[in-house]
């Protein structure tokens, strides 16, 4: 099955700093999503981005499907950005696989 890797596994930032999270996947996909899991366990959908670039406020994401990677950018980080960021990929009608996640801690 498809393999998903994420880096870095852990990241500690000072409030206001910028960061880039990476997701590599082993096969072509038609669905790629970035999620934020908050400290209460809720998975929040950040982006549906199987290709191209999207921006939403301080967050943006880019997927280069031909090279099988996606990047999540967080600018001017805030303490509320803390949590685990997951990349998940899949194909139509098939399993939707999660990466291991990046645990982000933003310090005040």
């Amino acid at each position: 099955g498809i393999q998903v890797e994420q880096s870095p596994p852990d990241l500690i930032l000072q409030e206001g700093a910028n960061s880039t999270l990476r997701c590599n996947f082993s096969d072509s996909v038609n669905n790629l999503q970035w999620f934020h899991q908050n400290p209460w366990g809720q998975l929040i959908n950040l982006f549906y981005i199987p290709s191209g670039t999207k921006q939403n406020g301080r967050l943006s994401a880019t997927t280069v499907a031909t090279e099988r990677y996606s990047l999540l950018y967080i600018s001017s980080s805030q303490t509320t950005d803390s949590g685990v960021y997951f990349c998940a990929v899949g194909d139509y009608g098939q399993n939707f696989v999660f990466g291991p996640g990046t645990r982000l801690s933003v310090l005040p």
């Binding site: 038609n30 669905n31 999503q33 999620f35 366990g41 809720q42 998975l43 959908n45 549906y48 997951f86 998940a88 139509y92 009608g93 098939q94 399993n95 939707f96 696989v97 999660f98 990466g99 291991p100 996640g101």
Partner: protein, 111 residues
Amino acid sequence: GAGVSQSPRYKVAKRGQDVALRCDPISGHVSLFWYQQALGQGPEFLTYFQNEAQLDKSGLPSDRFFAERPEGSVSTLKIQRTQQEDSAVYLCASGTDYGYTFGSGTRLTVV
């Protein structure tokens, strides 16, 4: 409804007890997934439905786990004779080809 609803939010079961976890997907969503998330881990796939058809159940860890979606909307995940290793958060997601939305999960603790 506006989102994916799961119930109960928390469940404590004695070892050997049967449990049933419910998922109410977003109305009209064809796809429905169940995931198991152990503490400190990412969600692990259990099973996938397209309407009422269970297309993939390869992630179900044993024959004690059973899922159904008889009318293509509400789904139930049943775990028979629960064991301590079944303790986890069980997540349900529904969606279309343009992305999936997750419920808040059911935290199952087997004592």
